[in-house]
Subunit: 513 residues, 2 copies
């Protein structure tokens, strides 16, 4: 079927959306050049929303596709996704007991239930079910989430930060991602609205900014200073963008870092909060890894705490994100999370409420997980000891695995890594010899992709090339999780070392940097 | 703080998004007039995405706010939201047993578990957990949902329609709403892209089209013919819009209807499918109420079945939506749903995959609900009888309630309703006498809002005025669910009748239409 091109002018009432301005109306008229079908398809991929087509998000990147192929004949160690339970992490027992009872409230009155569930899980489930009102977890909630659970989040933040946000400013979401998307959709008006995003970054941000038609303004984290922030460079970036006509609206910061595995010292968080306030930029603080911090001398400091203890406590705009997916509970599949508004205009908060309500409400089981994690069993309660032990054991194990992979990477020639101190990732730099760069070019691959594909082929390890997150020009990295269980990670280290040494021997002289 | 206006031209690389066309680049340059803050707020409500500001979605409409006020002193009957369990509907026991066991897999090996759970629920939970792979419901799934559950959906559709879609074309979602939003976001390129939406409609559609910057093209359902479709009128609407330069991309159809409570006869579904094929319009078929059909002589016919039995079986583009929220299970809070692509270009399906993946995956418990409803207990299995009885009892009760409210409305003067034959709503028309119209105008209210507010004040019944869904010019309606339990619905009818008769006596002569 032939392609149909329409170039008729748009009638006047279309442009009424553009506030009736004549200049804007003429622009709309010119913009219309609608192809309505191609090759017999209305939804031909060439005719979709161009912002969707532009958005980069490797669903099944080259590494992933090749791993699925290889899996048929050899064992693959997957370290490409931050998905703890899929790699053997166990859920926290109390969390799951409470979910089971909330889902099956008819168990609560069964005399056999205490044979299977501890008393505090039963009591907790009763309390949570009652807080949802008639219908328990089976009804829609307020689009912002169950009010009692939002109170528990506020209590959790008060205990963590010494400052309590209003429950009116806490919105529960289906994981942190849903909140990030809603916020970016609300902030971005057009392609002149810029959002500062760290390099390297988590691709949710680049994909969402593309999807909503904004401008991603990259700022590099400084690998040499342990993925630190260079605020002077940030200031220059913002000034240059503003001189070019961009409205620099927000800065994304991921702390602890993904993919960098760093935890920003409290004084640096404070400096960042002040910088954002002074630059009139909204801070979007992604703090989903806050529970996983391995250096006792560098505890997590939330942007909320830093803000509340700054001179901008009553003015600087901040939105903080958290999730149930990325702590010791690792409940990725259950999709729970929340975000907190600080100093956001009340009518803007109301607009976020409207946006949330279009999706009706976050799933109730995810809300229950938020409740159990923000309000965990307390000392003296039947579930306390097991809960505390499960969390501490997993955190200690992750800490050992972080040290294991950092140590291994730094023991090798042509390789260096900022030791992982938080989260679930390492982001080592590979110093590729000229022979390897030439071989990559000859193969038509980016150098980091070439290296990761070789690792997959030879060691059966599936990672993500650094170019998927962004990296300083000319540098080569990859991201690995250390989520496989400890015995598997030992094998990872041995296989990886053998591969890397062989790769470097094959392609060039050894060089320890 | 003063308002800062920026009108600097945008640099050349911004407009590279516009395919480098000089004319388009100039338009982008002119469009930049960014206010970056107002009253000291970067996220001032006036500076948010204008499409968000335009989107209409009554979170807390006037009726709802007044009901919350009145609730403090009198009992309110809420019939405003399709939220069955919040009004006393019980969840299906088997569904919840399976969820509980999937959430707490450590129960599966406990010798006491068979005291609380039937054998087939235990077996089913084991099968579902295994299908999720290591980590069970705690890991991210494929962004399209668990492959085994998508197979179960395909089986369900085959049993319903006699035709089986590919599992590659079935995407699980967090309720149907999430799927509708993703689809509209993908289809709409700019404000010249139009989507046909019925009047009256469910406001998800109008809100989402506004949010993604498209054009809503309304088409009226014909109340006189039982909310039927007038395809000739539709043809004229499309021709006029196309002559004006719109690209008419898709048609939304809700069957069974919300708020109309109608079930379209199979032959009319077939005519609609053919019409869409001939008009080169993608059919978006919202079929979330398909289980709730009360007229045995008018069973539900899916657009998928009609398509597969038409001459366009291999060509016409269709996306069908379903949900776990709106059948006898009424699992609104658990957020499960799916959509099915028919004859959608494979590269377009891949773009939907990418979009889904940005949100990682639909929540796993919602996926489990889809599994249990598409693959329910079979005759001879321990849970079959209870499951079948719970479903049949709820359907019979809803059928009685539908007849009760339709009969009551049609027995009254100045009122008529197309008898509800499906879904959970009635959408009666109120023939308001001149005195009532004048009183509404004097009170500064729309007539339907005036009537519904009076109903709330006098009878304590909370409904939604017809203007929230759209209605033919000059007509007045309201939407009510019949979800309160039967004993409450009896009270609803008595209170409503007394209110309505009193209202009509107060404002004018009786007139039975």
């Amino acid at each position: 079927m032939a392609t149909v091109l329409k170039q008729t002018p748009v009638p006047h009432y279309v442009s009424s959306k553009c506030n009736g301005d004549v200049q804007e109306r003429d622009q709309v008229t010119k913009l219309v050049a609608q192809v309505s079908e191609k090759d017999g398809k209305v939804l031909h991929p060439d005719l979709l929303n161009p912002r969707l087509l532009e958005a980069q998000y490797a669903v099944r990147g080259e590494l992933c596709l090749r791993a699925e192929e290889l899996k048929k004949t050899k064992e693959i160690i997957y370290t490409n996704v931050g998905n703890p339970q899929a790699l053997g992490a166990k859920p926290l027992t109390f969390v799951r007991q409470v979910i089971a009872l909330c889902a099956a409230p008819f168990l609560l009155d069964d005399p056999n239930t205490p044979l299977l569930f501890p008393a505090d899980a039963i009591e907790r489930a009763k309390k949570i079910i009652a807080s949802f009102g008639t219908g328990g977890v089976g009804g829609y909630t307020d689009s912002r989430g169950n009010p009692m659970i939002r109170e528990e989040v506020a209590d959790f933040i008060q205990a963590r930060d010494g400052h309590r946000p209003s429950t009116e400013h806490i919105y529960l979401t289906d994981g942190a991602s849903a909140g990030v998307r809603n916020v970016l959709q609300s902030i971005i008006r057009n392609e002149a609205d810029a959002v500062l995003v760290p390099i390297p970054q988590y691709p949710l941000y680049s994909a969402s900014i593309a999807l909503y038609g904004g401008k991603l303004l990259p700022y590099e984290l400084d690998e040499a200073s342990g993925w630190g922030l260079d605020l002077d460079a940030l200031t220059r970036t913002v000034a240059a963008a503003r001189a070019e006509g961009y409205s620099v609206r927000a800065l994304v910061f991921i702390n602890p870092g993904n993919p960098t595995g760093q935890c920003l010292p409290g004084e640096e968080v404070a400096r960042l909060v002040e910088w954002c306030a002074q630059q009139r930029v909204v801070l979007l603080s992604d703090e989903v890894y806050q529970e996983l911090v391995y250096r006792k001398d560098r505890p997590f400091t939330s942007a909320h705490k830093a803000l509340m203890e700054s001179k901008y406590a009553q003015t600087a705009e901040l939105i903080s994100f958290h999730s149930v997916s990325k702590g010791t509970s690792g409940e990725c599949g259950l999709r729970g999370g929340y975000h907190v508004f600080s100093n956001i205009h009340p009518d803007t908060v109301a607009q976020f409420y409207k946006l949330s309500s279009i999706g009706l409400c976050p799933n109730t089981i995810g809300q229950v997980v938020v409740s159990t994690l923000c309000n965990p069993p307390q000392p003296g309660e039947p579930s306390y000891e097991l809960f505390a032990k499960e969390r501490a054991d997993e955190l200690a194990s992750l800490s050992r695995r972080a040290a294991l992979v950092s140590g291994a990477f730094n023991s090798l020639p042509n390789m260096s890594v900022v030791p992982t101190e938080a989260a679930m990732y390492a982001f080592p730099q590979v110093h590729m010899p000229p022979g390897a760069l030439a071989a990559a070019e000859a193969a038509g691959k980016k150098p980091d992709v070439f290296y990761c594909l070789a690792m997959l082929e030879e060691a059966g390890i599936c990672t993500i090339p650094g170019s998927g997150f962004g990296q300083a020009a000319g540098s080569q990295h990859f991201r690995t999780t250390f989520l496989p269980r400890e015995e598997v990670m030992e094998g990872f280290v041995q296989k990886f070392k053998a591969f890397h040494i062989n790769f470097m021997e094959k392609f060039g002289p050894k060089k320890k940097q």
